[in-house]
Symmetry: C2
Subunit: 306 residues, 2 copies
Amino acid sequence: MPITVVGSVAFDSIETPAGKRERCLGGAATYFSLAASYFTDVRVIAVVGEDFGPAEEAVFASHRIDTRGIEHAAGKSFFWAGSYMENLNEARTRQTDLNVFATFEPKIPEAYRDSDFLFLANIDPVLQRRVRESMPGVKLVAGDTMNYWINDHRAALLEMLKGIDILLINDTETRVLGGNRNLVQAARSVRGMGPRILVVKHGEYGASLFHDSTPKGRGTEFRAPAMLLEEVIDPTGAGDSFAGGFFGYLAAQPQLTPSAFRRAMFYGSAMGSFACERFGTERLQQLARPEIEDRYNHLRELAQID
Amino acid sequence: MPITVVGSVAFDSIETPAGKRERCLGGAATYFSLAASYFTDVRVIAVVGEDFGPAEEAVFASHRIDTRGIEHAAGKSFFWAGSYMENLNEARTRQTDLNVFATFEPKIPEAYRDSDFLFLANIDPVLQRRVRESMPGVKLVAGDTMNYWINDHRAALLEMLKGIDILLINDTETRVLGGNRNLVQAARSVRGMGPRILVVKHGEYGASLFHDSTPKGRGTEFRAPAMLLEEVIDPTGAGDSFAGGFFGYLAAQPQLTPSAFRRAMFYGSAMGSFACERFGTERLQQLARPEIEDRYNHLRELAQID
């Protein structure tokens, strides 16, 4: 079933120990869409500037991603420059130019309104909430956020959280949002804010799923490993790609069973690992479905005893 | 089959956000022995001072741990004081008094010489190597070390590493010893120094196993999760307890199959988690085998998809 995603489509300049790239196609909605496109149809809501041309459009088109919700505005697209020279696990931001994103007002095309799945990538929680409320018919809503919104826009974020089913954030964000250094207690606190399912991304250590107990008696916690990569070329977008694999897989399932969520964690981990293997979205653009299945099976083998 | 372990038996003063304890029984060999004692017979080689009395002896005796290799010397036992007030993942050492440990010369009782399994807990690699060479008949040798030996006693450490089958260290130690920020590459480098099996402990994120490919086609990497604990009372000795559970389980198996190593990782994780639930060795002293099986099954459920 199709997913609608709202978030940033941007240009990124990235420096890592493996090299540099100037102005490559990026943004949370881009990584999410590409990763999810291997599992289901994806529809994007975003805004871009005049620097977004046929080459960028072609990346979406070649993955049959619906871009009718990408508004073209006068000016430049959102631009981010970051470095991972000191720490591959955390970017040091060198420059952020919101450009056309500063006045972004998400507009939902009529053709998107039958979407059953909605993903609210990391943007102003006021906008996330507005999009969510404009699509009351969706069956499952997931979202992301970041420390900036947690620390400085808490009230708006808490309003947004009431309207979503699944939140995907990292360890630090969980601890800060939940107000507790212990991850289990922080996760419980966050789930009390609205999302009945919480996915905490641990970077190179994988990710944890916290949810309610189920009638089938599966545990309420689940942990998926991350790939042990020989080399991380560029970690930009790994979390968004995780979300795309996770939510894309779920959207393609006939039933959202506890086992489906567990498999989705592994597909998320697979897509996050691919994102790290090349700069920007290079690797995500060129995957074949058998490669994804191979990686899923590799991750299973990495974590399964028998 | 019995394990002989050489290492420290000590008194620890510990401060964590959950409280304080003065001079509780500690030391790597103590944590290791208690954890391993739930799986197999354990024999300890260590030195203690006059402050090690009947109460401490009784802890070992109640777990049928052979203490004939614990030498009683004039003076005080090894003493360590540490705090986890800022960071539960890493102790800040406040005081280290080697005391009788400063002149420790391990002596191996005749009764220990038929041990098939040998664990070299974190002590001077010169002593580790001497013990290993004094027991040429052992079938499997595992060891631990720390950054102090890696940085300042590298030559002696490299000699020791040639004589062991399994090394258990943490992420940072692996990266420093292997001379590579990438864990996979660092692990390969460390395994080239001698140990054919490397276990990297990731603290709250679990542990990874690196080993050779096997005829049964299981992968060469395996990752076990850590328990998601509601509260970490005291992480002291968690790594030694992991090693005790891991090596103790292996010593009790009829065959050291790849699956046995994978299960051993889960038992290691189980014992490490118990260590964190009370101060010092309190929790490890009072376990019942069904509790260990319950935790093993909980960890399986935490990580297994189907």
